[in-house]
C-alpha cells in the first residue's frame, strides 16, 4: 500500500489521489499529540481525540511505501506534517526491542519498505544533512527497510518528484 502525507493543500490532494492508496492532507486542522500513551495502553492504535488523525496510525502502519512531502522547517518536517507523525505512534506497540543497535518499540504492523521524504522550500546544506539523519532515524524507528530524501528546488521539480 502506498501512502502520501503532504502539506501542499487540497489541489495536491486531487492531483495525487489516483497514484496513492491513501492521501493524508496535513492542513493543521487537528490537535497535537498530548503524550498520554493512550494509543498504547488504553485504546490500542487509536487516539482519544476524535479528529481526522484518530486512526492515522492504522493507515501509516499498513503502508509499504510512505511518501512525506513537507516544507523545510529548521531541517525538519513542517509543523502540520510533524503533528501527523506525532499522532501516529500507535504503529508500534508499547513493548521494546533492539533495532539498528538501539532501543525501539516493536512494530504492530510488521516491517515496511520505503520511508521517502520530499522536501520543498528554502533550505541550507546543514539542514539537508539533518533531514537525511531524521529520515534515517524515522525509518529505523518505524521499521522501514530504507529511507530516501529528495530536495525540490522549484515547484516543477516538486511536482515531478511526487
Amino acid at each position: 500500500m502506498k501512502v502520501i502525507i503532504h502539506d501542499l493543500g487540497s489541489p495536491c490532494t486531487e492531483k495525487v489521489r489516483e497514484k496513492y492508496d491513501h492521501v493524508i492532507e496535513a492542513d493543521g486542522k487537528y490537535a497535537p499529540c498530548q503524550g498520554c500513551f493512550g494509543c498504547w495502553t488504553k485504546h490500542p492504535a487509536e487516539c482519544f481525540m476524535k479528529d481526522r488523525l484518530q486512526q492515522v496510525c492504522r493507515i501509516i502502519g499498513q503502508a509499504d511505501e510512505l511518501v512525506i512531502v513537507t516544507k523545510n522547517l529548521y531541517g525538519a518536517y513542517s509543523t502540520d506534517i510533524k503533528n501527523v507523525l506525532d499522532r501516529s505512534i500507535g504503529t508500534s506497540t508499547p513493548f521494546s526491542t533492539y533495532r539498528g543497535r538501539q532501543m525501539h518499540h516493536t512494530l504492530r504492523y510488521g516491517k515496511h519498505d520505503l520511508w521517502k521524504v520530499i522536501v520543498w522550500g528554502d533550505i541550507t546544506e546543514e539542514e539537508k544533512a539533518t533531514f537525511r539523519l531524521m529520515a534515517e532515524r524515522n525509518a529505523i524507528n518505524d521499521g522501514f527497510q530504507r529511507s530516501e530524501v529528495g530536495f525540490a528546488a522549484d515547484p516543477a521539480e516538486l511536482e515531478a518528484m511526487i
Binding site: 492532507e25 484518530q54 503533528n83 532501543m103
Partner: protein, 258 residues
C-alpha cells in the same frame, strides 16, 4: 542574569521535562522565570517573558525523533518575535526520551541549532537524556522512601520511644543512594550546563542516560507498560493486534482515497 525556563511537555502534570527543568534551574541560579508551553494560548505570554532575558532553556520530550509539533509552532512564532524585537538570547535545551540512549535526541538538537541560526539567536547546546520517563519515576520513589522513613520513625517512637530507628535510616540511605546513582549522569551534565548558562558560554551537546544496563531497562519498561495497560484496559482491547483502518468512522474527516 535572567534565564527563562520553558517546560515544553504537553502533559498537564508529572512530566519528566518538569523534573529535569527543576534540576537545571537549581544548577543555574540567578534570576529565573519558569513557563509552561502546552497550547498556542501560551505563546504570547512566554514570548513577552523573553524580553530582557539573557538565556532560554527549552525542556522537552523527544517526539518521533524530533521536536514535538506544538513546540515547532511556538518556535516559528519565537523566530519572528526575536527578529522583530532584535533579541539575541542564548538558547539551551534539555531533551529527554523514553528510550535508554540519550544520543537518540541528536536530530532534535540539530533542529534547534538550525532554529537559532534562522532566528539570529546563539545556540548554547544541550543535554540529551535517555530513560527520561524512568528517571522521572525515581523522584516518586524518593518521596515514597521519605514517607516510609517518617512512618517507621513514628512507629518506633510510639513503640519504644526511639525516634531514630537505625534499620529504617540505613534502609532509607541505601535506597536514596541507589536512586542518586541512577541520576548521576543527568546530575553531572545538568550541573555542567548550568555553569555554561550562567556564563553565557557554549555548552556543546552532551548525551547521558539512566545508569542501568539497557536489557534491564527494557525489562522494566515492558513491565511498566503491562501494568499501566492492565489498569487502563488496553491489555484487553487488542493490545498488540493489527487494528484495521475503519474508514466508515472517518466519513467526515477527509482522509482516505474514497
Amino acid at each position: 542574569m535572567k534565564t527563562v525556563f520553558i517546560n515544553c511537555s504537553p502533559k498537564k502534570r508529572f512530566c519528566a521535562s518538569a523534573y529535569f527543568l527543576s534540576m537545571q534551574r537549581l544548577f543555574t541560579g540567578g534570576q529565573t522565570e519558569t513557563e509552561k508551553l502546552r497550547t498556542p494560548a501560551d505563546h504570547e505570554r512566554i514570548l513577552e517573558k523573553l524580553r530582557g532575558a539573557d538565556a532560554v532553556v527549552l525542556c522537552m520530550p523527544l517526539y518521533v525523533d524530533g521536536v514535538p509539533s506544538h513546540v515547532l509552532r511556538f518556535l516559528e512564532e519565537m523566530e519572528a518575535f526575536c527578529r522583530r524585537n532584535s533579541l539575541h538570547l542564548n538558547v539551551y535545551c534539555v531533551a529527554n526520551n523514553g528510550f535508554i540512549e540519550g544520543r537518540q535526541n541528536e536530530p532534535m538538537m540539530q533542529v534547534l541549532e538550525h532554529f537559532c541560526a534562522r532566528a539570529g539567536l546563539s545556540w548554547g547546546g544541550g543535554v540529551g537524556i535517555g530513560g527520561g520517563v524512568m528517571l522521572n519515576v525515581t523522584r516518586i520513589m524518593f518521596v515514597v522512601n521519605i514517607g516510609l522513613l517518617v512512618l517507621n520513625s513514628i512507629l518506633s517512637f510510639t513503640r519504644d520511644g526511639n525516634f531514630f530507628p537505625a534499620e529504617a535510616w540505613i534502609s532509607f540511605a541505601e535506597n536514596a543512594a541507589l536512586l542518586l546513582f541512577f541520576n548521576l549522569g543527568v546530575l553531572f551534565y545538568l550541573i555542567r550546563m548550568g555553569g555554561h548558562i550562567r556564563r553565557g558560554t557554549f555548552s556543546g551537546k552532551r548525551y547521558t542516560r539512566i545508569m542501568i544496563p539497557s536489557f534491564i531497562f527494557i525489562l522494566f519498561a515492558d513491565i511498566f507498560f503491562i501494568i499501566i495497560s492492565l489498569f487502563e484496559g488496553g491489555l484487553f482491547r487488542g493490545w498488540l493486534a493489527k487494528k484495521p483502518y475503519e474508514a466508515s468512522r472517518l466519513s467526515s474527516q477527509g482522509t482516505g482515497k474514497s
